[in-house]
């Protein structure tokens, strides 16, 4: 297994269960390959960082919908109700 194949499997391991054979080959490769080990760590780091980023937006009460948009929505609702 080379780094290209290893990186593909590392990525796929986040999306499906690898076969026993794949897991063994990957473990063997990452045991001797620091770059691919780091790659795997970075993918986890990315997930954590992006979740944090997304949660920051969702929980940031300073972010509000522009008032023009609220007015626009109110109008379009009224036109339907009337």
């Amino acid at each position: 297994m080379d780094c290209k194949q290893a990186s593909q499997l590392i990525s796929q391991s986040l999306d499906r269960s690898l076969s026993l054979r794949e897991r063994i080959a990957l473990r063997f490769h990452t045991y001797i390959c620091e770059a691919c080990r780091r790659f795997g760590q970075h993918l986890n780091t990315l997930r954590v960082a992006l979740k944090r980023m997304s949660a920051n937006v969702e929980n940031d009460t300073n972010i509000t919908m522009p008032s023009e948009t609220k007015t626009r929505i109110a109008k379009s609702i009224e036109s339907i109700v009337d």
Binding site: E34, L43, R47, A49, L50, S54, M65, I73, A74
Partner: protein, 184 residues
């Protein structure tokens, strides 16, 4: 059902719904549009008056609207995109013997709040550089933990295509982040 309580709903829930949509779509205009569509769908619904927990109900509608937008943006995937992504484009990352051209460096999310803020800004910029369809798929999967099968069903792509695209997205973002964060 009165116009008055629609206005109450709008003032009580629109900011929350907007943030919810923005966190997922990242585009303010798209986020505004889906919130508008959500309210319109809500008042047209026969069960509108019976909702005891409007926020939960509205969020449920919003989720579907968000998926619709994501589906549209990913729909443009063509067979040739996938072919090239499977192999050709990855030449930027690996040499002909399958080794990293630039081996991943050692770094992690900083602990310090200020640095962390900078880190997230760089990450945001890297997400913006990624083709929309890849960024969308990546967000659905890695950030919002949407089930892989559900993604494939929603976006009408095969699981193999999804793996290839997610790989491509992760490779791109990781490299962009590394270059800009370590270089910062």
């Amino acid at each position: 059902m009165t116009t008055a309580n629609i206005h109450d709903w709008l003032s009580e829930h629109s900011d929350y719904l907007y943030r919810f949509a923005l966190a997922r779509l990242r585009d303010p205009h798209q986020a505004e549009d889906v919130v508008q569509e959500t309210f319109i769908a809500a008042i047209k619904s026969p069960s509108f008056a019976e909702q005891s927990s409007p926020r939960t109900w509205l969020t449920g509608i919003l989720k579907h609207k968000i998926i619709d937008v994501m589906r549209k943006s990913v729909r443009e995937i063509t067979a040739s995109d996938l072919m090239s992504e499977e192999d050709g484009n990855m030449d930027d990352f690996f040499d002909e013997t399958g080794h990293w051209m630039d081996a991943p460096q050692a770094w992690e999310i900083p602990d310090n709040a200020l640095e962390q803020k900078q880190f997230l800004i760089i990450l945001q910029n890297c997400m913006d550089k990624l083709p929309t369809k890849l960024a969308t798929l990546f967000l659905m999967r890695d950030v919002h933990d949407t089930d892989n099968e559900e993604i494939c069903k929603e976006l009408n792509i095969t699981t193999t295509n999804a793996w290839v695209m997610l790989y491509r997205a992760r490779m791109g973002i990781r490299k962009c982040l590394e270059i800009n964060w370590i270089g910062a």
